[in-house]
Amino acid sequence: MNKYVKKYLRNDKLAHMWCPGCGHGIIMHQIIKAIDNLGLDKDNICVVSGIGCSSRAPGYMDFDTLHTTHGRALAFATGIKLANPDMKVIVVSGDGDASAIGGNHLIHACRRNIDITTIVFNNTIYGMTGGQFSPTTATNDLASTAPYGSIDRPFDIAKLAAAAGASYSARSTVYHANNLEKLIEEALQVKGFSLVEAMSMCPTSYGRRNKKGTVSDMLEDYKETYININAFNKLPLEKREGKIEMGVFKNETYPEYTAEYQKIIDRLKGDK
């Protein structure tokens, strides 16, 4: 067995429930590699999710794991982190979970800059419920609830998080798995709110309806479409068409929420 799998996954729960070719397994793999790189203490990590295919990941991960209600992972995680600031709190969430029903908790966690690392498994679709469009589905894409092509405009989750106040925000894809691992590792080291948007393919609920070919084709698509933000910015405008930036969008230092709270406690102790 892969040594990371042996060390960090609940092997008796595998094979996992994801469809053949679902990108979510690749992301989970990079998360445990990043954790291993940093030598974090397994007993001190908590992984929290909402509801969705992606949100099933915690069930396979050998930490304290919490599978909550749809969209609310960050709110639960905020309670955990504030109550026990020593824990490393990681949220895994789908694009629907994080940016549709959970969009408010996302921007508020960013605003507070609470020390939580969120990995968004973005397959631009509601996978679990069978392919309704999500806030990240591209305009004109087909979905079960967008039978004539979506007229909604997508969020750019990484940029939205940056605008809402996150310390760190980045994006990569499951094709660029090594890069994804590196970004997650970086995010986990941030003292503050960090978010990594991981583009992931959903062959079942997205690929098939949108005629995206095999899962390998979908991975090749990521290779074509996503380019590093620095390279992107150097491209002449006409060449940017059809390309999407990946890499680190923001990496700044702000006061962290639980640390600021601790200061109040310390101040009140001092007052006695």
Partner: protein, 72 residues
């Protein structure tokens, strides 16, 4: 650990036959069998690059080294 000591392994029970490893293997080492399970068809061609492991969504193919230490 040096590449040579790594051994390419599969866990067919976990393989879902998505074909990603087959597609991305630079040396065309891999194949799916009739039951859509992964098979190391041409083991000698493998250069232990790890790309199959990297993107296998199911942890069903991996390079194994001498991991005694890890296992304790």
């Amino acid at each position: 650990m040096s590449r040579e000591n790594l051994v390419l392994k599969v866990k067919p029970e976990w393989c879902k036959g998505c074909g990603i490893c087959v597609h991305f293997c630079p040396k065309n080492v891999l194949e799916l069998d009739e039951d859509n399970k992964i098979v190391i068809a041409r083991p000698d061609d493998c250069i232990k690059c790890g790309l199959c492991e990297l993107r296998c969504p199911d942890f069903a193919i991996y390079l194994e080294g001498d991991e005694n230490e890890d296992e304790k």
